[in-house]
């Protein structure tokens, strides 16, 4: 799609509550500070305003969106606005009957996560027995003739089974397989030393994914996303701050990304107080990192500034303490040592902790 500022996708994080406790959850670690505050009518109004702004895609996400009892109503509202609606779910808790009612309401596609190809490992990373239920849900999605994406977050503890994960996806007749390495933010940052893979692991996995992508062309879309810790250039986080994506947190904050509300000094508006169009076009927080004016050198004069848009502001802040710093994933950052040290540590298996810190509600 074209490069100018244009809202394409609304990400509705309906709730941060979730039955799972995944060790790399991308929700903020202070979950309790953002309780569910939006009513059905609030969400429907936000969908309407997003459609008027030009959004075509709607991601119903969380936390676990199935925990919203009004989900079918929200799907129906999205359908009436002609959205392409994606349900991004763990599959827990769900019945076949409820899934059928979501399809009936006009749901466009379903993305189910698994954590590994082996039940015990998947359940261990999720912090709850859930693997068999997830497979069951994946089968229901296919039986109901809904498009199915299988989402698998990759890390050092499952990269070695990427071939088995791909085989499982083929077996489930998945339409799209998203193999995305963990982003080392939020809970994944807390578990980074236990999760960050080695270069050799990544190289091997990438080759297997590449071969599968070629072999399954036209049948199953295979996506493989490298971690920016190994790319030496920052990722184009959200395709650029406030360019194509708008995210609503469970308490109603309009955000450019999943963790923007963890950045200090920015005041994000609530959709209960201001219209989405006004926020998108006029809010100071959305303006803060749009374009190039905020960029430090060498970003400002970098030939890649229109490719990666200066990388990830949340990563810059959470690793360096400064939201406008150069993303340390970039080898041109003076703080790039933070990344290379983590990579070096990943090489030494004696330094890899065995324990994992599970996602939890902290008060």
């Amino acid at each position: 799609m074209s490069s100018e500022q244009r809202l394409y996708t609304l990400i509705a994080e309906l709730t941060y509550l979730c039955p799972l406790r995944c060790v790399y959850c991308s929700n903020p670690t202070n979950l309790a500070a953002h309780p569910d505050r939006l009513s059905t009518a609030d969400w429907l109004r936000v969908f309407q305003q997003a459609a008027e702004l030009g959004a075509l895609q709607l991601n119903l996400s969380g936390g676990e969106p199935l925990l919203r009892r009004d989900l079918a109503e929200l799907v129906a509202g999205a359908h009436a606005l002609d959205f392409y609606s994606n349900l991004i779910t763990s599959g827990v808790p769900l019945t076949r009957e409820r899934l059928a009612s979501l399809k009936e309401a006009g749901l466009s596609s379903v993305q189910v996560s698994i954590q590994d190809s082996v039940a015990s490992e998947s359940d261990r990373i999720a912090g709850r027995e859930s693997f068999q239920q997830k497979l069951e849900v994946a089968r229901w999605v296919k039986e109901l003739d809904l498009p199915l994406t299988l989402n698998v977050v990759l890390h050092r503890q499952n990269l070695g089974r990427i071939a088995e994960i791909i085989a499982l996806a083929e077996n489930l007749q998945v339409d799209r397989l998203e193999l995305a390495n963990a982003q080392y933010m939020a809970w994944a940052l807390e578990n980074r030393s236990a999760l960050l893979p080695t270069q050799a692991q990544l190289d091997a996995a990438r080759e297997i994914a590449r071969a599968a992508k070629e072999r399954l062309k036209g049948k199953m879309e295979v996506l493989f996303v490298l971690p920016d810790y190994y790319s030496d250039r920052p990722k184009a986080c959200m395709g650029g701050w406030g360019r194509h994506y708008l995210l609503i947190s469970p308490d109603g904050l309009a955000l450019p990304c999943h963790l923007a509300h963890t950045l200090p000094g920015l005041s994000f508006d609530n959709v209960q107080e201001r219209s989405l169009a006004d926020i998108w076009q006029n809010s100071t927080a959305f303006a803060a990192f749009r374009g190039e004016a905020w960029m430090p050198e060498p970003c400002k004069s970098c030939e890649r500034r229109a490719v990666d848009f200066g990388g990830c502001r949340c990563q810059a802040y959470h690793l360096t303490g400064e939201a406008s710093a150069i993303d340390p994933a970039c080898s041109l950052s003076p703080k790039h040592g933070l990344i290379t040290e983590a990579r070096a540590q990943a090489q030494q298996s004696s330094l890899i902790p065995l324990g994992l810190r599970y996602r939890e509600i902290r008060r």
Partner: protein, 96 residues
């Protein structure tokens, strides 16, 4: 997919994961699929509207030739290349 392209009798059909709709902001058609979208030019949109599993590739070429007042042979290459690219992305299927 190359072997399939050889047959103009083939009847392409949009994959179930796609949604073809008008983008009110640009007035152009978009083909939406999970988390992505293709902004279509008028030819692309005209082709996809005919990818209903009923029209063969030769029928699509013939219809477009009338619609765009063009020589069928001149259009054929463009149609085949476009359709092939979409088969490869899993956005088109072959009707049985």
């Amino acid at each position: 997919m190359t072997e399939l392209a050889l047959s103009l009798d083939l009847k392409p059909k949009l994959a179930p994961k796609t949604k073809l709709r008008l983008d009110p902001k640009t007035g152009k058609y978009v083909l939406l699929y999970p988390e992505k979208g293709l902004l279509l030019n008028p030819t692309g949109a005209a082709i996809l509207k005919l990818c209903d599993g009923e029209h063969s590739l030769s029928a699509i070429v013939a219809t477009l030739a009338v619609e765009f007042r063009s020589e069928p042979l001149a259009l054929q290459g463009e149609v085949l290349a476009f359709v092939l690219a979409l088969f490869d992305r899993g956005l088109l299927r072959v009707a049985p």
